[in-house]
């Protein structure tokens, strides 16, 4: 079942020309232009036919550049604005973390603000009373809850705002970049709370510039660009496509900067005369999605073959738990590159990342890559429990833009005599003493 359904949504904002700045009610009444002045001179289309669904209980991350329509979309889903055309349907109670503590009054106490803020978010007085202690505990404000909010630090203010909004206990939670503020500890706390939400089958919609958060946290990602959906699907893949696009745009901008002679810069007329050349052509990047499922990248460097080798030294797809395994990548550089890194990720059947690393994370410095080569990722003991696993392998730029990303393309099975639960088997042993008597271990 879908918790959110967005169908062909357009949102136009009115943009008023210069005339409007001088139009006052007096002059509007005198010239009889009241109705005309309420009409816009021009419209700006923030969303141009956006459609997507979010299944109940899923977490969707929305990425995109500034001005791509992310926040507008979120506001429409929250019901703060109405789409110009198209429909937005949301199932269940919605709470939007758009601005924490919006509506707090500085002169009155934290306690009173919690009540008023909670009621604005749709709770009854009794519901707030029941959740009040949780809210205060989550915000870590026990000592200060009776003090006027104007005496709070900005961190305390935000914590309180977050605590109220999250305790509305919505079916659908909308989050707009609120995690960017706040200290590390609080961010972790918020993420824990989101994870808790997911566990209880609630739907979360996350607008963020933190791509890391999207790949780690979301079941699916949506990339908005210029008011249209550029891509939707696997978070890793969407984020990589987005990164590639941003890098390409930056590249083009740098090229354009270089191309324009410096002597022209002081001339105001030549500034910004050609904005079109700096805006990336959206058509170009569609190639990203024509590549076969699970593989994408710019292909300056390619991974031509992937092989898994077990303790026997032969290529295999079946390993014993605890066996040594080598992942061998054959790579070919179609042109020499010096900005590169290799990465490997292991996922279980549920899509949980069991382990992921790359040469950059481990502190390696890229030298040069040219022609053909082989990369071996040697695991001395692969301590995974029995099950089916999938492999991500990639070669990418150090900023994350992929040359060649193979997403979950390789499958292997781990066998084990024991049927333990979980994912990872830490090397371990049991030991007993005193009155405990057990045999067989």
């Amino acid at each position: 079942m879908n918790a959110i359904e967005v169908r062909d949504v357009h949102k136009r904002y009115r943009r008023y020309g210069r005339r409007r700045q001088f139009a006052t009610l007096k002059s509007a009444l005198l010239s009889g232009s009241v109705l005309r002045d309420l009409r816009p001179d021009a419209v700006f289309e923030a969303l141009k036919g956006v459609s997507f669904d979010v299944r109940s209980g899923k977490t969707l991350g929305i990425v995109g550049r500034n001005g791509s329509g992310k926040s507008t979309m979120l506001k429409l889903i929250a019901g703060i604005g109405k789409p110009t055309s198209g429909t937005v349907r949301v199932d269940g109670r919605v709470s939007a973390l758009i601005e924490l503590g919006a509506g707090f009054h500085p002169e009155i106490s934290g306690r009173e603000n919690v009540y008023i803020n909670g009621m604005m978010l749709g709770l009854s007085r009794r519901e707030i009373a029941r959740r009040f202690d949780d809210i205060v505990r989550f915000a870590e404000l026990d000592e200060f809850i009776e003090a006027p909010v104007k005496t709070y630090s900005s961190g305390m203010y935000m914590r309180l705002g977050f605590a109220v909004a999250i305790n509305v206990d919505p079916d659908v939670l909308l989050v707009d970049e609120v995690l960017a503020v706040g200290d590390e500890a609080f961010t972790h706390k918020c993420l824990d709370k989101f994870a808790d939400f997911r566990r209880r089958g609630r739907t979360v919609l996350l607008v963020t510039h933190s791509l890391d958060l999207v790949t780690r946290f979301c079941d699916e990602a949506l990339w908005l660009d210029g008011g249209t959906v550029k891509a939707q699907g696997d978070p890793r893949r969407v984020v990589d496509a987005y990164l590639t696009n941003v890098a390409a745009a930056e590249n083009r901008q740098l090229a354009a900067d270089d191309a324009s002679p410096k002597s022209q810069i002081p001339n105001p007329k030549s500034q910004g005369t050609d904005p079109g050349s700096r805006i990336p052509d959206p058509g170009e990047d569609l190639d990203m999605f024509k590549v076969s499922e699970g593989r994408w990248g710019s292909r300056e460097v390619e991974i031509t073959a992937v092989e898994l080798v077990g303790a026997s030294g032969d290529s295999s797809h079946m390993f014993q738990s605890g066996e040594g395994v080598e992942i061998r990548l054959r790579v070919r550089a179609n042109q020499p590159v010096s900005d590169f890194a290799f990465g490997v990720g292991i996922f279980n059947a549920e899509g949980v990342c069991c382990y992921g690393t790359n040469t950059l994370i481990e502190g390696a410095t890229a030298g040069e890559l040219s022609g053909d080569g082989e990369v071996r990722f040697v695991i001395d003991k692969l301590d995974l429990v029995e099950g089916t696993y999938k492999l991500d392998v990639a070669v990418h730029r150090q900023n994350g833009v992929p040359y060649d990303y193979h997403r979950l393309l390789y499958t292997f099975r781990m066998k084990s005599a024991l049927k333990e639960a979980g994912i990872f088997r830490p090397p371990h042993r049991w030991s007993f003493s005193g009155g405990v008597r057990i045999t067989g271990l």
């Binding site: 904002y13 006052t24 506001k75 929250a78 604005g81 919006a102 978010l121 007085r125």
Partner: protein, 276 residues
């Protein structure tokens, strides 16, 4: 602002009104907050609600007994108390309109970031004004008793009705003005001047009987004239209350103003979050 089928729109209007009722706890909390926040940080705190009208009344008393004795008809003695009967409701009316014309712009952050019916804000302003009005009543009562003004106790039963009619009228105008100010910021300045004119076009500091016949006909077109006269009749003048029919007419007019104000507000609702 496309025009939908009118019947559908009325139903929407009613649904919004019903929804507003669900927010009554929020409204009452916001009114309490408004009153608390206003005096937070002052030494006398809440007592200012009493002291302000008291000081005003003292000033008028001094002016009309010491500085300007005998400019008013003798049957309207004490004149300061007579004026106060009109000034108290007028202060509620004018300050509510002035404040609510600004309330959506000032609360813009709220409207843009939180989903709740925006009409709550002007309504809260008017209700906070009502509370101040009610707090002024004991001061007025003290003076009425002190000067032994002969008030007919049964007339006082009309008072809640008069207050209710003024409330409906004020809320209607507040809704209209608050939504219009979002589009035309100069409503506020226009309003300040308009209210000064309106004040003198209402028999508050003069009895309507002193106005020339021609002017009186104009004054009668002002709905607030009848409200103020009703207050004066109930609170100040002896004899039975004669304003019943006029009061009902003003009540009907106030309802029309309210529906119109709410209608305009509802129409502009979707533009508010974008324009503030």
């Amino acid at each position: 602002m496309g025009l939908g089928p009118p019947r559908l729109h009325w139903r929407q209007l009613l649904a919004n009104l019903k929804q507003l009722f669900r927010y009554r706890a929020l409204i009452s909390s916001l009114v309490a907050r408004e009153l608390k926040a206003r005096y937070r940080g002052s030494v006398l705190g809440f007592f200012w609600s009493f002291i302000n009208p008291l000081l005003l009344l003292v000033i008028y008393t001094v002016v009309f007994t010491v500085v300007l004795p005998g400019v008013h008809p003798p049957e309207l003695e004490p004149y300061a108390v007579f004026m106060f009967c009109g000034i108290l409701p007028w202060t509620w009316f004018s300050s509510s309109l002035l404040e609510s014309s600004n309330v959506l712009v000032a609360g813009g952050n709220l409207i843009k970031k939180v989903l709740f019916p925006a009409e709550v804000l002007p309504i809260v302003t008017v209700l906070a004004g009502l509370v101040h009005f009610c707090l002024g009543l004991p001061i007025l009562a003290a003076f009425l008793i002190y000067y032994r003004v002969p008030v007919t106790p049964t007339d006082l039963l009309w008072l809640p009705l008069i207050v209710a009619i003024q409330l409906v009228l004020t809320v209607g105008l507040a809704l209209l003005l608050s939504a219009l100010t979002v589009h035309f910021r100069d409503v506020r300045d226009l309003l300040a001047n308009l209210l000064t004119l309106w004040f003198f076009a209402t028999p508050i500091i003069y009895p309507i009987t002193q106005a020339p016949e021609r002017v009186r006909r104009l004054l009668n077109l002002n709905p607030f004239t009848h409200l103020v006269i009703a207050y004066q009749e109930v609170l100040f003048k002896s004899g039975p209350f004669m304003q019943g029919n006029r009061l009902l007419a003003v009540g009907a007019a106030s309802l029309v103003v309210f529906v119109f104000g709410y209608f305009v507000f509802d129409r502009l609702r979707d533009t508010l979050a974008e324009e503030v």
